[in-house]
Structures are given as C-alpha cells and as structure tokens.
Amino acid sequence: MSTEADSSSFKEILRRASTGDQDAWRQVVDAYGSRVYALLFSRCRDAELAEELTQSTFCTVVTKLAGYVELGKFEPWLFRIAMNRLRDEMRRRGRHALSVANDTLSSMEITPREGGDQPGLEGESQQQEESAALREAMENLAEADQEIMHLRHISGLSFKQIAEVLQQPLGTVLARHFRAFKRLREMLGVEHED
C-alpha cells in the first residue's frame, strides 16, 4: 500500500471498517499497529506502556472511525490520538516522556564523510564514540524537535501530516525540522564539504 491507488483502496478499507467489517478493521490494525507502537515506544521507552497506549488508541479510533474516514486525514488523526494518549499518561504519572533513551541510538553509525557518498567506518571504538555523541545530541534537542524527528523517521509521516498531528503550521514544522537537523549535524561535528 504505497501508491496512490493503494491509498484510495485503503480509504475503501477504512470505509468498510467504519461499518463494522472485521476483515477491513484487521487490515487497518495490521497496517498501523506496529507504527503506532513504534512511535509510542520511541517516546516512552516502556514496552508495556507503549502496547497499552497503542490498544487504547485503536479502541478510541474504532469507535469514532465513521466520522473521520471522509476527511482523508486518517494518519494524522490516528497519530495525534496516540500522542495525546501518551501525553495524558505522562502527565498522570507526573513525569516527562523520555525523548530518546540511550539504547535508541546505540546502533547508529554516524561518520563524517570525507568526499565520498558512502559513510566511512574507522573502527568499532570510533563508532561507539559517535553513537554516544549522537545520543547526547538528540537528547539536547528540544522536546518539540524530537517529536518532529520521531514522527518523521519512525512513523514515516510527511511534514504536512506532522503539522496536522502537532496542530502547527506547516512552515513552523519545516523550520523546526530544518533547525533541529542542522543543529544535530553541528553537534555531531559533521561539516559540509566545500
């Protein structure tokens, strides 16, 4: 389901699910269950909580599906519900969601390139140092910037959809992403080649 034709057919699936079709609803759950879970887990770093909130999100969606199918903004609506569920839970628990845990970026390999298109690897120790630097850089980003990065890279939402999820103007989201992206590269010491 990655083409426009599939997108239109998915709208038909949503329409059928809104009428109580279990097969159609199963397809919706299969398509988005993992994505919602991944987003929530990346934000809270708690597997049980992420699954609980994922189920809560879909239980809410299934009862209100009929009113939102026609709007054609299912994905932003779904992820906004998920994000709101997470915020409510974190507020209830009295602590903030962990934006990026140390484990998240442990496998990342960021190496400043020196003229080539392929990243260079200079040994395992250097990878660990760079991973630690990236973790620190991500944690130093503002909460809103981290949300944008997660919605983009984990949920796979477009900037337009991210703007709808966060209920912010598209220009604001683009500017925040641009600034966060550049700051991330600066903090990691990845310089542009001239």
């Binding site: 009929a66 484990d103 542009h192």
Partner: protein, 194 residues
C-alpha cells in the same frame, strides 16, 4: 525553504520518510537516511501485537458506528421558521406574564407600606406590651448592672415602691438606661422629665 510534500507514502504499512527538499544537500540527505534507518532499529514490536489490538478493539467494532453529535437529519426550512416563530412567541408570552405578575406584586407591596404608615396605633400597643413584659426583678437586675451606683440608689425608692415605671420618665426604657450609665447625666434630669 520551498517544500512540496509527496503523498505517495500515505497509508503505508512500511512507510519511508518524505524526501528532503532542495534546501538540503547530498550529505544532509545521507544523514537523514541514516537517521531513518537507525532510529527504529532497536524497537522490537512484540509478537502478537496486532492480534491483541484487534481483540481489544473488537468490542468497539461490533458496537457499530456511533452517531456523531449534531448530525441528526436537518429539518426543512419552513419547519425551522415555524419552530423559531414558536420560540419567539413563547418568549414574548412569558415576558408579558412576568411583567404583569411583577406589577401586581409591586402594587401589593406599596399598599402594605401605606397601611403601616397610616396606622400608628399598633406600634403604641406594642410598646406598652413590651413595657409590661419587663418584670420588676428584671428592672432591678438592669439597674444593678449599671456602673452608676449613686444613680441606682436614687432611683431605687421609686423602683421598690413601684410608684413609677421607667417608661414614666421618658417613655423609653432604653433612654433611661442610657441616662443611668451616662456620667454626664444626673438623676435630676430623670426627675425633671417626670
């Protein structure tokens, strides 16, 4: 930063992030791809997650689509006007009724005031009755509470012989008591009043 979001990745179970626009160079794009490939690498979706989500949301699905509020079928235009006219008529009748009731109550209140002001006899009877209610023992007690022992001594013969009453001095017991407790006012003033 011009941005033209591409929608081809919408509604996908395996989405990939929207490509960066012309504001980013090749290194930025590579770094962006690295983020996308690395951020979710450590997220392990629990086995059977979608099954549990489906089971949890099945009850809501079987309950059927719930009608959204304010989506009842609209009435015809003439019926809306008739309803509006009925509401306005009801409000006007209610307003007239409240005004008429208020006017009657106001007239009754004014007549009561006139009746009280034109008939002083009940007030005198009330004063006389209150004077009779005050026993001699109470009068003695009130006198004993006075700081002016001399005044009490002067007035005590009158009280003990019951030749006069306090209201005989001025017609007002309170005035007598005030005079007794007022050092500037002597007993002869009371006698003079008599």
């Amino acid at each position: 930063m011009n941005h033209f979001p591409r929608e081809h990745f919408m509604n996908g179970s395996e989405p990939h992030p929207e490509a960066l626009d012309d504001g980013f160079d090749a290194q930025d794009r590579h770094f962006d791809e690295l983020l996308s490939s690395s951020l979710g690498d450590d997220i392990q979706v629990p086995v059977g997650l979608c099954d549990r989500i489906f089971s949890a949301s099945l009850e809501g699905l079987q309950a059927g689509p719930r009608p959204l509020p304010f989506q009842t079928p609209r009435r015809s235009f003439p019926m809306q006007w008739i309803g509006l006219a009925a509401c306005v008529g009801f409000l006007m009748v209610a307003g007239f009724w409240m005004l008429s009731v208020d006017g009657v109550q106001r007239q009754d209140r004014m007549s009561d005031l006139v009746q009280v002001a034109s008939d002083p006899a009940p007030r005198m009877e009330t004063e006389r009755a209150s004077a009779q209610l005050l026993s001699s023992e109470a009068e003695m007690m009130l006198m004993a509470m006075s700081d002016e022992r001399d005044t009490f001594g002067t007035l005590s013969p009158y009280i003990t012989t019951r030749s006069i009453r306090y209201d005989d001095f001025s017609g007002d017991l309170v005035a007598v008591l005030d005079a007794m407790q007022n050092p500037a006012m002597q007993t002869y003033d009371l006698e003079w009043r008599q």
